[in-house]
Amino acid sequence: MAFVAGTDIVSQLLYAASMLFFVVIMLYGQKIQMYVMIREVENSLRKLKLIKEEGRKTTIETIKEIGKPETDPSPRVDRYLEYFTISPQSMDPAGIVNKLDHILDVRDSRFKDEVKLMAPASDEVQVNNLENTLEAAMALNFIYRVVRHFYIQGKKTLSPYVIMQLQMILPLVMKEAEAYSSALKAFAYGQPIGDGVGALVAAKLIYGSKTRKVPKDCVVATIPFEGRTALVVKARGPGGNVGKPGDAVKELIEENKGKIASVIMVDAGLKLEGEKVGEVAEGIGAAIGGPGVDQYKIEDSLVKYKIPVNAVIVREDIADAVSPMRKEIADSVDSVIERVKSVVLERTKEDDKIIIVGVGNTIGIGQ
């Protein structure tokens, strides 16, 4: 039989094969590596698609359950998922904050109207929660589209630069997508998220006192605090909502004609790898995330009256911040309040008026 040749021929064949192998590796090694990378990206993309589809399904189911729409909301949701927002031109940056603020306001009211159309039976709290849910679904959709774009581009060009870029950031992108996916579920059910720790601290201080509304979507309560008077601000819960603490703080400072001894901001802060979740840290500055509009407004009114600003943060990573609140974070509330107390005792005098701002999304947190 042909394949049972002499030993000589077999070893020669093997030798030739190994030479061929080396030549192939030398000439096409990079291409092969690219294919391996593309396959890796492909797997992640598949997972992203799964996450995205699941998010869309959860969103539509929640809308159907809460909103009781007469028609199928799916086409409207699909259209909503493709919405985009164009940030203002920054060539001449003067006044850009107001422009951005305006764009965000328009976006917000447009989204709320859209949600009301999708889910007519929902109350205000549910509209807020659904809006947040849809935004998470939008974020997932966007991540999927961008990764797919680079994947197809990489496959078309086989350019190592395109593929490697994508492959390098992919673990972080996947982590973010998973975080958004759990955020989506939290929003759909109205569960508090890690970012809400500031709001939770404020709620704990406020609980039992009378509150009044301040612009925009915020509440404030005046409470006695360690011999001082504290104005505690948070976004109005329990719907998913961050409010506009910038406007609220500005108004409170103006109301008191600048006679505020200190502003203390409580927020979730990003932790570095190796740090513990729920650790409390203290510092200086306006601790508030988001697009920067609120930070600008707060700093602006602080500078006008030269009011010192302190920050107390609870450390958590981005995944913890947008997914249901971890026990460690919920348990940190008491130590945050202790920290705020010590800041107040050290930095202000008796009978002073202070503002405590609980920053963050107040979903699932009342007052």
Binding site: S182, G190, P238, R326, G364
Partner: protein, 119 residues
């Protein structure tokens, strides 16, 4: 696809190897068997790996717990989260006194999977 081809080829190599062994062509049999086993091992390994990856695709959802407290008589119980719960929501009357129960916390418990770094 490639994996399955390799698997098929490895089986063919094993069959030929066995045939060669029966024909007392020891060297060829040795080569073929070695190639067959190695490539089969590789193919199986890759298959198992991709299976594992598929299993990892599923996202697990941890349970969300709600703590219900009565401030007056200090009773506290933890139950699973229900839609409509929010922190500082007033619930129905307490079983022991006529104070309303309130929700004091909603959280999830995460089992830390990663090893802590102690450097």
């Amino acid at each position: 696809m490639i994996v399955l081809t390799v698997l098929a080829l490895s089986i063919i190599a094993l069959i030929f190897g066995a045939q060669a062994y029966l024909m007392q062509n020891d060297t060829v049999a040795l080569y073929l068997l070695a190639i067959g086993f190695i490539s089969m091992g590789l193919a199986v390994y890759v298959l198992v790996q991709s299976r594992k990856r598929m299993a990892k695709m599923k996202i697990e959802t941890p349970k969300i717990m709600t703590t219900v407290e009565c401030r007056k008589c200090d009773t506290k119980n933890v139950r699973e989260f229900e839609r409509g719960d929010f922190v500082f929501k007033e619930l129905d009357k307490c079983d022991k006194c006529d104070e309303n129960k309130i929700i004091t916390a909603i959280y999830k418990i995460v089992k830390e999977k990663e090893k802590p770094f102690t450097i």
